[in-house]
């Protein structure tokens, strides 16, 4: 180690020790050591408001104003679709980033929820659809999909690490073939179209602006659920299990139960996203859950950065924009090549995704020594 390197290392150590250090990640992972009196006096509101920064307000205002200034195409095709896809990708971020289990079956869970909406609710296939009211159909669909996710989890946590991706991939592709070949429940190749969409207080929720807000509400709820969970005891234990399952087991934590529960939570998120997707498309078919759809969820999560819940939405926006405008920018029909190459580049050169790239860029621009965070290699 050269003298210069030593000096830099010492500087960064000093910076880490200094109290005025700027933490580069969106928010500190653990509560900051504020003074004891302050901590006692704070209500939950002041605690929350202390965390709200200018950029949060800006983002919130932007996403609320967005559908009114954007054209219906941008509000609906881009905005709402990105939110629904982002929610499904968020389920993978939670499972993979915090639970260390990369499941490729998230799209299958979402697809099953979409199929549930079609089967329990109304659709073009009157012989199969049960025609129940939309709230009942939706609730049942979400319950069934969550149970499916838990079952997938129970199966795949029997093995560890890299095996998970293989098993969930096999399950997902098997589900795709089942949906494609089964005509009695899944209506085979053509699937379901003309899905019944909720109509509340006379507002057709497939209109761009109402649908955007439905999607936004679900996405925000999912985002804050994940944000909350990863700091709750359950989330902390889950991250402990991710880093060292054996130690957590010997500390008395039920490793398998935590993992299956994580699958169930992520299944819930994916199911809500799947219901949104089904409403958005107005139809569901095996093509919704095929291999490229399953992998696109992984691409979205990795593109944005799997260590931050917001990464899922960043990735989804980039993905949806690319999907819609790749035709204009590149050779027609070569979307997969572009997205595949982009994914490859991200995986090879920036394991923390676009957010990691942004953080790197910012830290090199600001030229401040940031404390080195120990992060798991993706």
């Amino acid at each position: 180690m050269s003298a210069a390197q030593w000096r830099r290392a010492m500087n960064s150590a000093a910076a880490a020790a200094a109290p005025t250090v700027r933490v580069p990640s969106a928010r500190p992972r653990t509560a900051l050591p504020t003074s004891a009196a302050n901590a006692v006096a704070t209500s939950w509101w002041t605690r929350w408001s202390a965390r709200i920064r200018a950029r949060h307000v800006v983002v919130l205002v932007a996403i609320v104003v967005y559908p009114f200034v954007a054209s219906p195409f941008f509000a609906y095709q881009i905005g709402a679709q990105a939110l629904a896809l982002g929610l499904i990708a968020l389920s993978l971020t939670f499972l993979g980033g915090y639970g260390g289990m990369v499941s490729l079956a998230q799209m299958s869970v979402a697809g099953l929820a979409g199929y549930g909406v079609a089967i329990f609710g109304t659709s073009s296939a009157a012989a199969i659809s049960l025609g129940w009211p939309w709230w009942l159909a939706t609730a049942l669909a979400i319950v069934v999909a969550t149970a499916f996710a838990a079952a997938v989890g129970w199966l795949s946590v029997r093995t560890e690490g890299i095996y998970t991706i293989m098993i969930t991939l096999a399950i997902g592709v098997a589900f795709f073939y089942l949906a494609q070949q089964n005509y009695t429940v899944f209506n085979g190749f053509q699937g379901f179209s003309k899905l019944g969409v909720p109509e509340v207080l006379g507002v057709e929720s497939r209109d761009p602006v109402p649908f955007y807000f439905v999607a936004l509400a679900c996405a925000l709820a999912g985002y804050f659920l994940v944000k909350h969970l990863v700091r709750a005891p359950f989330g902390i234990a889950l991250q402990g299990i991710r880093d060292n399952p054996r130690r957590m087991a010997s500390l008395g934590y039920a490793v398998t139960a935590h993992r299956v529960a994580a699958y169930a939570v992520s299944g819930l998120l994916a199911a809500v996203g799947g219901v949104l997707m089904a409403w958005y498309n107005g139809r569901i078919s095996p093509g919704t859950v095929n291999l490229s759809a399953m992998i696109s969820i992984l691409i979205i999560a990795v593109l944005g950065g799997m260590k931050h819940p917001i990464g899922a939405f960043v990735g989804a926006i980039v993905y949806v924009l690319l999907q819609n405008f790749a035709i204009d920018l590149f050779v027609r029909e070569r979307f997969n090549l572009v997205i595949g190459a982009g994914f490859l580049a991200i995986v090879l050169f920036s394991p923390d995704g676009l957010l990691g790239l942004w953080a790197k860029l910012r830290s090199s621009l600001v030229k401040t020594q940031t404390p080195q965070q120990t992060r798991r290699q993706l």
Binding site: A170, L337, F343, L344
Partner: protein, 307 residues
Amino acid sequence: MLLALLALAIVAFSVWAIADNAPLYFKTLLNGLTLASLYFLVASGFTLVFGLMRNVNLAHGSLYLLGAYVGWVVGDHTGSWLLAVAAGFLSAALLGLLMQVLVFRHMEGQDLRQTLVTIGLSIVLADLMLWGFGGEIYTFDPPPLIYGSTVLPVVEKFPTFRIAVLIAAIVIGIGLWTFLARTRVGMMIRAGVDDRGMLSASGVNVQLVFAITFAIGAGLAGLAGVVGGTALSISPGEDTRYLLASLVVVIVGGMGSVVGASIGALLIGLAEQFGLAYAPTYSVVFTFVIMVVALAFRPRGILGRAA
């Protein structure tokens, strides 16, 4: 106990099926064996690479398809089917070698990242092949010796080529086993599967062993591409099918074990064909049930060992 029950159920089904329609039963059996041979050819390379490098190569299906396409081009130009097979093997082996040398050796020990890279590669390769070869369906013309159909007892007519595939798979299986069990390089590979660190410490160039294994595994996929393309056909989407097949075969049989791959391939191939013949809508479910049962009772596969 459970195994005995299962065996009893299979025997009962066989007796019923033979009594009901013997030609159908034996034809399905032969078809199942043919499919199992194809699956074995694809999955053996997959399991070999996984066992040694802990690399889940999700681009394995793309290697299959690439071998098939390159083989088709060579076969089309030279008119020789055997050259097509060789070209399929070599092209996939070369690509596999490049993947290992250029990418994977730089991210050793990062299982998940390697897997993500293979996913990215499979997307790019699939799209490039779609670009180059379009969506058409290609078929091969095998040499006349193994073309046409052979008359067999009970089954009557059966395509000769499928019998050839079966024999080829058995020969390749035995060859692979001999290579692993009897040769020096095979010994190194087996030692690497058991303990990579120790192998490297005893002075073996592990990177070379890795490269050889990756080339062989990828080459087997390319070879299977030409053989499978001749038995059935090649078209975009086949990469996914064979990737799924190898995944399930390897999960059931045990990761890293070539013998396990043959057992898994037999189970899955037979289940798929019998499912198609006797319960068409649910044939995929059979495959899936086998996987679930295998995982529930033997999480590491039938012949799998602790990693």
